[in-house]
Symmetry: C2
Subunit: 339 residues, 2 copies
């Protein structure tokens, strides 16, 4: 039935009494006489022959692998992206190679030169930070790359983006519509791409609404994590008394929620909390957290499809997709009549 030795085309060919070309043809469904087809099929089955992926890759110039690089494999947003990308690319017959680019910006560079070794046919990259050298490396790549997030200046690549400004507006408008006016903001690090974008969105939304910007009502966690969020939210509530807290992240939102309610504030009656990304954990907070979905899975799906398309037609026009955010209202922001 199955065996422990590896068997090759020539073994199958010998056993079937044909040339290796014929074996290859039969196994790839190219035309062959019934007699040869039969002999090859049974020989291959008897030997438990499985074609070698590496040899095939070398010959046809494709690895059937797609690389995915995210900053932190553990982050819930990336997790949902990974899951989505994984299903899309495996459905298309590709394997997924996972690279965690960590916090070291050099990792991204290393990855890109690594990509030029040809271990994958294409790359989906979601950079947290965008150092200058990344741009030059991106431009020098021989392989298709699609970016989740914004591309460095001067780089022409397929990319898919969230609309942070619209997302923040959704959050701010939602609580402002309830008559809340002291809308605070718990951000992540401002020197990251999402951190900068969300800060910009928050300020724009405030301005559009005619609400004052108040420096005391803004804090930045030193990370997009729960721990960092606890510290930031504590700081925030020491320096102001908001009636709504908008957060750059669901983890930060849960932190804010817990700090607030442990501090004796009632959520949502005294203060509303709104998160962002609408990850699974938004639902399991108590009360469940209203969250702006920036379309992580949609972005992931779009990115995967963009890459697959470019692998099909390498010379197609560069495409840019923007995913519109949506608001999922839950108990943390609905006074009185909880849904």
């Amino acid at each position: 039935m199955a065996q422990a030795k590896k068997s090759t085309l020539v073994l199958v060919a010998e056993r079937a009494g044909v040339s290796i070309a014929s074996v290859s043809r039969v196994l790839n469904g190219l035309p062959a006489s019934d007699a040869v087809t039969d002999r090859v099929r049974t020989a291959a089955a008897e030997l438990g022959y499985v074609p070698d992926a590496t040899a095939r890759s070398l010959k046809v110039g494709r690895t059937e692998q797609i690389a995915l690089a995210v900053a932190d494999v553990g982050n819930p947003v990336y997790v949902s992206m990974m899951r989505e990308i994984s299903t899309v690319v495996t459905a298309a017959g590709y394997r997924l190679v996972l690279s965690s680019t960590g916090s070291d910006p050099r990792d991204q560079i290393d990855l890109l030169v690594g990509l030029n070794r040809g271990f994958a046919d294409g790359l989906i990259l979601s950079p947290l930070r965008v150092p200058a050298e990344l741009g030059t490396q991106l431009r020098a790549s021989r392989f298709p790359i699609v970016i989740i997030g914004s591309v460095p200046p001067g780089v022409e690549l397929d990319n898919v983006r969230a609309d942070s400004v619209a997302g923040m507006a959704l959050a701010v408008d939602h609580v402002a519509d309830q008559g809340r006016e002291r809308i605070a903001f718990v951000n992540g690090p401002v020197d990251t791409v999402p951190g900068a974008a969300r800060r910009n969105g928050y300020l724009t939304a405030l301005r559009a609404r005619g609400l004052p910007e108040n420096a005391d009502a803004q804090v930045s966690a030193k990370d997009f994590t729960y721990r960092a969020g606890l510290a930031a939210a504590t700081r925030l509530l020491e320096q102001c008394t908001p009636d709504a807290i908008v957060c750059a992240n669901d983890l930060l939102a849960i932190a804010a929620l817990n700090v607030a309610s442990r501090g004796g504030l009632r959520v949502p009656d005294d203060v509303a909390v709104v998160g962002m990304d609408d990850t699974d954990i938004a639902e399991l907070a108590n009360p469940a957290i209203t969250s702006v979905d920036l379309g992580a899975t949609k972005r992931a799906k779009a990115a995967a499809e963009l890459l697959l398309r470019r692998l099909d037609e390498p010379d197609a026009d560069v495409q840019q997709v923007v995913i519109e955010p949506t608001l999922t209202v839950r108990a943390s922001s609905t006074r009185g009549d909880t849904p």
Copy 2:
């Protein structure tokens, strides 16, 4: 500086005026004269030469890739395992290929025959369910495999296991030591490997403690998810009034926590809640959830190291590692004086 065409050994050799063998030797650090070394180095740099991974793999018979197969890329436990495995194997110079084996048991089989195509040098497999055919396929594999979880009967493979019985005992003893006697259990599906093991652990712990088994105090969620947990916990609290709820999972635990507190029960005063796996989310529940760490990251690390070791010495003895569980006590189970 960098270029868009792929350059090969022969291009570098021509430019340096030496043979491809010399280029290969220089680039691999084998002895060569200073003159040749210099010429090759500069030629390679000028051309932006990067060796082709596929060709190298074909020649040396290694892909420098390790495959990881988990049931659900989205599950927090698997996420932390992934993260750990990712760091260990990349530190050792391997890339990580991710396969989600989903719920379809055929996926695992497909993966194993796929592995025989040689796209990876080894596999780390964490099967949720273990159909009979999996055993025969595992035995037939030409490549090193390490199992996270228990191995099918008759299969000799490196593996690393959690000690569910000890873990459950930790949970049950913890609440029983507080004088709680009506200790309920929210499990996941019993037809899964962890589901069965945890159920067994719960019953064993109860017995060891001299506590009665009560069918009404046990429910199984149809999934290890929060949603399923809500339904199961609701059912549980309709059919009994426990003073402690032990859960097979942190997600299930948070569900139980929320159902209980929304039902007017005070946690931990009226009822203690204990989770399992000690994932990140245990900490962000309110109150934070006491959880038994079954050592997911330790298991992941051990599995990765086992695989690396076997890749080094293929004929080493089969090794089996058991990770001891630990209990992290948090607010959800500590009456009165919260830590």
